[in-house]
């Protein structure tokens, strides 16, 4: 195992970098999507709630591997071979992968955020409104700060799931850790050693992320006292 790592360590660590880059892009956009759609699903406006419901159900109802194939192969095919738009439309594997992660994780984040907001007693909103705060102000200053604290563990959980889901994007040729490891196995045929190293690498990164999350959680608790 150590022997293999000394030979392919650099390749695998670079690939881990690509995995993290992909996760970072995906998660950033997912947070934005999740917040927007999450809030849309609790506001009074029926059109907003309807859109949020359709979005969440659509994305949750499609396996991510299908979404990945659809975005990477299907969408450019639609533009280049069906609609015949003038210039060649392409999405790099990083772009397609980020969109895929953002949509997938965004839908789950929206549900976490909706549940978080709804877990705050309605009395809080009513009280804030009765002292004269406008709806958005009350949401921003009273409801969301309380909601976020209950959301944090679920959000961290979702981050970890999404980080691991990047491995699915090996199927669209993105040189992340799993795809790279497949190539290492194809060259060396040392399955046990390669997948062992890959498992340990994921584990280390995820343990670090968990530790970071714990620190963050403690901070938020401290500030609220």
């Amino acid at each position: 195992m150590i022997d293999l790592f000394s030979r392919y360590g650099r390749v695998l660590v670079t690939a881990m970098g690509q995995t993290l880059l992909l996760a970072l892009y995906g998660l950033s956009f997912a947070c934005v999507i999740g917040l927007i759609v999450g809030i849309m699903s609790v506001v009074k406006n029926k059109a907003c709630r309807g859109f949020a419901l359709v979005f969440v159900n659509l994305i949750r109802g499609v396996p991510m591997i299908v979404l990945a194939y659809f975005i990477f192969f299907g969408v450019p095919f639609l533009f280049n071979n069906v609609l015949h738009v003038g210039t060649r439309v392409t999405l790099t594997a990083l772009q397609a992968g980020s969109i895929c992660l953002a949509l997938n994780c965004g839908a789950y984040m929206a549900e976490i955020i909706r549940a978080g907001i709804q877990s705050v007693d309605v009395g809080q909103m009513e009280a804030a409104r009765s002292v004269g705060l406008p709806y958005w102000r009350a949401m921003q200053r009273v409801v969301l700060p309380q909601a976020i604290r209950t959301m944090i563990p679920s959000i961290i959980n979702q981050f970890i799931i999404t980080l691991k889901d990047t491995s699915i994007l090996s199927v669209i040729g993105f040189p992340e850790l799993v795809n790279t490891a497949k190539n290492v196995v194809a060259e060396t045929f040392l399955s046990f050693q390669t997948w062992g190293i890959v498992a340990i690498m994921y584990l280390i990164v995820i343990l670090l992320l968990q530790w970071l999350a714990k620190v963050l959680e403690r901070r938020l608790k401290y500030e609220s006292k």
């Binding site: 533009f79 199927v171 040729g173 795809n179 497949k182 196995v185 194809a186 045929f189």
Partner: protein, 247 residues
């Protein structure tokens, strides 16, 4: 009466289970590697590899099972001892031999080449600068593309199957793909895949061989080689090739 039927059914099931374990050898192969192995409209596994193996088994009088596990999974299954041998259009190379592959005699000479979308203006490796090309993980075509990547300044993207790399080119995500010439020729011929081979991009080529990974199983190789020589002699071999490749 009911008891009798139940007893008969039990015996049948046991016999069936016993028969499943009674085959002499088990082979792993790729899922979709036309025209060497693929599933036809009726759901049957067919192809040059499948028929050559069937002809050799008949000639040598052994029984076998063949399962389309996929390329990587077939190799892993053979290494782990779950399958005895691999017949999946595997090129015989010195590198693989050094890594522990044990090959039969070659049963088909194949080379690799580049294909582009129909109507593409790329006529050789020179047109690949700054572009991405698609290859299949762990294949000779990947090694071939890798060996050219630096000189011609293109990026190599790896996918899991031949249909995946053709999709990448057809949808415009990659400008070209590298795969075994007969495989691409067959896809273009029988499926009307909108790709065209680029003349002058062929690699030196190598023979395809059946492979095992366990030196204790060389008996399979001996029987395969003997059977191959026989079917080449009696014309069965040419018949199979003509059926799948024409001319």
């Amino acid at each position: 009466m009911k008891k009798l039927i139940a007893a008969l059914l039990t015996i049948l099931m046991l016999a069936g289970a016993a028969a499943a374990f009674a085959e002499d050898y088990s082979f792993g192969t790729d899922t979709a590697f036309r025209p060497f192995e693929y599933t036809d409209e009726t759901g049957t596994l067919v192809g040059i590899d499948v028929e050559i193996l069937a002809a050799i088994a008949e000639d040598q009088g052994f029984t076998y099972t063949i399962e389309p596990l996929g390329w990587d999974a077939s190799i892993a299954a053979c290494q782990a001892g779950q399958k005895d041998a691999l017949i999946a259009g595997a090129s015989i190379t010195e590198k693989r031999k050094a890594e522990g592959w044990i090959f039969s005699d070659g049963y088909y000479n194949a080379n690799q080449s580049m294909a582009v979308a129909v109507g593409s203006d790329i006529t050789g490796f020179d047109g690949l600068k700054g572009q991405s090309v698609a290859v299949k993980t762990g294949t000779e075509s990947k090694s071939y593309a890798d060996s050219l990547a630096e000189t011609y300044g293109f990026t190599v993207m790896t996918f899991e199957s031949s249909p995946d790399i053709y999709q990448a080119v057809i949808s415009g995500q990659c400008v070209a793909c590298f795969d075994d010439t007969p495989i691409m020729a067959d896809y273009i011929k029988s499926n009307g895949v909108p790709l065209q081979l680029v003349p002058g991009t062929e690699s030196e080529g190598a023979d395809y061989g059946m492979a095992i990974f366990d030196p204790a199983k060389t008996e399979i190789i001996e029987k395969f080689n003997a059977g191959l020589a026989n079917i080449k002699e009696n014309g069965k071999y040419d018949e199979i090739l003509a059926k799948y490749l024409g001319n």
